[in-house]
């Protein structure tokens, strides 16, 4: 009984040991892939669908999860360990799987006005050396800043230009110019920031400029006019003053494919209005008519005269009496146009054609 129990105990111990060993070694057909940096294990083994049937499903999933976790833990302890305050820790390596970042990447700074202009013109930055040789100090100095080379603020004498006012302080002028440049630069910097953040850029309306153009002046007039309590409603207009341009009114157009009959009606109405505005009595036409009648009478009189004298030949001297430049007219087309009867015939025909062509 005792021997039996010893054997039994041994067998049990052996089994337990095997069980223990099994608990940390997991057999897989395909090796599980690890990304220790992210504590990630990727099991690419096939899953049998019959394992999912019935009660076995839960057990199967649990054992699979345990096995894979075991493999992951095994992998972790393969890394070099160290001891930190009674605890053994593993330093995880860099992750292999790239993960998307939580926040969108920051947007690049929008280009400044100068950068836009430089890009348009293809101007590229040129790298300049930091130090330049200063001829007066006989040493290398920084290009700008404190103790810079060729420092024009340290000059003790400035030549007065010939065109300048002799009483003007050239030193003060230089200082003032520098201050202006700094101020302008600062203003531009702020404008760039404002533009980048889509704030209304200061200087849209009327900012002081070096030289005011005609446009600026008209803009100033319109701004001044609308700067009353009634927004310029009761302001009289100057004679010959043009209405202000670009006053922020948006153009509105009809839809491309809208109401066609409405559009047609509108155009017909417009035509009717245009027609009604024409003067009923056309002076030019009336004068022309009068002139034509006179011409005809004259021609008839001439013809009568000529016929009384010598018939057809008599026409020629009669024409000579009439107007100058007949010599030329006699040579070319004038014979057709300038003369009496044939001309009328020609023109009359023209008129008939014209009328016929009109439909």
């Amino acid at each position: 009984m005792a021997a039996c129990s010893v054997e039994e105990l041994l067998a049990k111990a052996e089994r337990e040991e095997a069980e223990k060993l099994k608990s940390i070694t997991v057999h897989k057909e395909l090796d599980v892939e690890f990304d220790i940096g992210n504590l990630l294990a990727c099991d690419k083994n096939r899953i049998e669908s019959r394992d999912f049937r019935g009660q076995k499903k839960e057990d199967f999933l649990r054992s699979l999860a345990r096995d894979n976790t075991q493999l992951l833990v095994n992998e972790i302890w393969k890394q070099p360990t160290e001891r930190v305050e009674e605890a053994i820790v593993v330093k995880l390596p860099d992750s292999l799987t790239p993960l998307p970042r939580e926040k969108p990447p920051p947007k690049p700074r929008p280009p400044t006005k100068w950068e836009e202009f430089a890009k348009l013109k293809g101007i590229q930055k040129k790298k300049k050396t930091n130090l330049v040789w200063d001829e007066t100090a006989k040493e290398w100095r920084r290009r700008w800043g404190y103790k810079r080379a060729k420092d024009d603020t340290k000059e003790w004498l400035i030549e007065v230009p010939e065109t300048a006012d002799p009483n003007e302080d050239q030193f003060a002028k230089r200082v003032k110019a520098k201050k202006e440049r700094v101020a302008k630069n600062e203003f531009n910097r702020l404008k760039n920031i404002a533009r980048a953040q889509k704030i209304k850029v200061p200087g849209v309306g009327l900012t002081p400029t070096a030289q005011q153009s005609k446009d600026d002046l008209s803009k100033a007039v319109s701004v001044a006019k609308t700067s009353t309590a009634s927004v310029g409603r009761f302001q009289d207009r100057l004679p010959k003053e043009k209405p202000p341009k670009n006053t922020g009114k948006k153009r509105k157009f009809e839809p491309l494919i809208g109401n066609f009959s409405n559009e047609k009606q509108k155009q017909l109405d417009m035509l009717k209005l245009m027609d009604s505005k024409k003067p009923k009595l056309d002076i030019t036409k009336a004068v022309n008519k009068q002139m034509r009648e006179e011409d005809r009478e004259e021609a008839a009189a001439k013809y009568k005269k000529g016929a009384g004298k010598k018939g057809r030949k008599g026409n020629m001297p009669g024409k000579g009496k009439g107007k100058g430049g007949k010599g030329k007219g006699g040579k070319s087309g004038g014979g057709k146009f300038g003369g009496g009867k044939p001309v009328g015939g020609k023109f009359g025909g023209g008129k008939k054609r014209g009328k016929a062509g009109k439909h």
């Binding site: 017909l268 035509l271 087309g333 023109f347 023209g350």
Partner: protein
């Protein structure tokens, strides 16, 4: 592409009425379907409703031409007729000028019509009246502006200008790349 504004329509009609008078009505109100004027790229196109609907499939920057180009608006807002409009102006023209065969070529090269080249002219033409120029065989050649009234035409010397050139069919070759 968009419809013309009232102002643009008025400018265009005023220009057209110089050539075809009240016959514009026949262009606007046609019995054979709905026709309309549309503005694209500063040019005015005359097209049927059907063509317009088809043209909406093409994006604005890709659209070169649609229907018939009548002319364009200049930067100063004036309307300028193009020769492509001749097909629609010629049948309705109120005042016509016929050019002699010898002067035909000169006109088609873009010159003014001299009196020596004048074959016939509609009676009662006023000065600065828009006219359609025809060859003696009644083929429309282009359009211009009468420099002289019909009455004055009888008296002037043969080398003086009678019709100012505005557009002629020679432009189809000369301005081939800009004419749409």
């Amino acid at each position: 592409m968009r419809p013309l504004t009232d102002e643009e329509t008025k400018t265009m009609f005023e220009k057209l009425s110089k050539y075809i008078g009240e016959n514009i009505k026949l262009l606007v109100d046609r019995p054979d379907g709905t026709y309309c004027f549309r503005l694209q790229n500063d040019r005015v196109y005359y097209m049927s409703e059907k063509i317009l609907k088809l043209a909406t499939n093409i994006s604005r920057d890709k659209l070169v031409s649609v229907g018939t180009c009548f002319g364009k608006f200049t930067k100063t807002g004036k309307f300028r007729l193009h020769i492509t409009a001749l097909d629609f102006l010629a049948p309705y023209a109120k005042f016509k000028v016929w050019v002699k065969p010898g002067a035909e070529q000169s006109f088609l090269y873009g010159n003014h019509v001299l009196k020596s080249g004048l074959g016939r002219i509609t009676e009662n033409t006023m000065q600065y009246q828009g006219v359609v120029v025809y060859s003696m065989a009644d083929v429309p050649l282009g359009f211009g502006v009468a420099a002289k009234t019909t009455q004055e035409c009888r008296r002037v010397d043969p080398m003086s200008i009678v019709v100012f050139h505005q557009a002629d069919v020679g432009e189809f070759i000369r301005n081939e790349d800009t004419l749409t």
